[in-house]
């Protein structure tokens, strides 16, 4: 299969490591309520409309912020992308089809769930759902792809 956007197979492990750490840390953050002062660091905020603390609109300001959530999000996204888009040990047209099928499935499933939550969930709870929604397409994709891969590997010679 000629695919020019897939990474080499050797990155797969790195992807799984980042993805796992990200997910574990993410789940931990959900239960601890997203608040943390760990790793407080000076960061560059390009734009802040100040809506959350009734402050003025600021541009390009150095602020203090715990970067635990940023790192977690980046680990999940980068790890997930690497896992989903690095080559299998034997990359062929069938694997390629599984990958694209999983992507289609993940997008449709994700937005069906989102439609449901738009209709039935409101206020801050909905914003919480949106946080999950940053990652669910990728997470669904990775799990669906690996599930199909293992299913088609099973039994008989």
């Amino acid at each position: 299969m000629n695919t020019n956007y897939l990474l080499s197979h050797k990155y797969k492990i790195l992807g799984w490591i980042l993805f796992s750490i990200g997910l574990i840390s993410g789940i931990f953050m959900v239960f601890s309520g997203f608040e943390s002062t760990l790793l407080n660091t000076k960061v560059l905020s390009i734009f802040n409309n100040g809506i959350l603390n009734n402050e003025d609109v600021t541009f390009f300001k150095i602020i203090e912020n715990s970067i635990v959530d940023e790192i977690t999000a980046l680990f999940i996204i980068i790890g997930g992308l690497i896992v989903g888009f690095s080559k299998e040990k034997i990359e062929d047209e069938f694997i390629y089809k599984l990958r694209t099928d999983s992507l289609v499935w993940a997008i449709i499933f994700n937005y069906l769930v989102l439609i449901f939550t738009i209709i039935f969930i409101y206020d801050m709870t909905f914003l919480n759902i949106m946080i999950f929604n940053m990652f669910t397409p990728l997470v669904f994709f990775v799990f669906r792809f690996n599930f199909l891969k293992h299913k088609s590997q099973s039994h008989d010679e």
């Binding site: 040990k89 034997i90 990359e91 062929d92 047209e93 069938f94 694997i95 088609s152 590997q153 010679e157």
Partner: protein
């Protein structure tokens, strides 16, 4: 589309893994084809036919409604 890959494999005494190895695909592909869950590309069908030294039509068949 259906096929008699399994029969051809038996004739040549090849396991799914052997066949996959010979034509450079994953074992999952062979498995999926034999279960009629996957229609191979023309390239792959031709490779398999070449390996078994038969015309493609002797291995892959259209089904009634196709």
């Amino acid at each position: 589309m259906t096929n008699n890959l399994k029969v051809e494999r038996a004739i040549h005494d090849l396991t799914q893994a052997d066949l996959a190895d010979k034509i450079g695909v994953s074992r999952q592909s062979i498995n999926a084809m034999e279960k009629n869950k996957y229609v191979p590309s023309t390239v792959l069908a031709l490779k398999i036919a070449k390996l078994f030294d038969k015309p493609v039509e002797a291995i892959f068949f259209l089904e009634e409604n196709e």
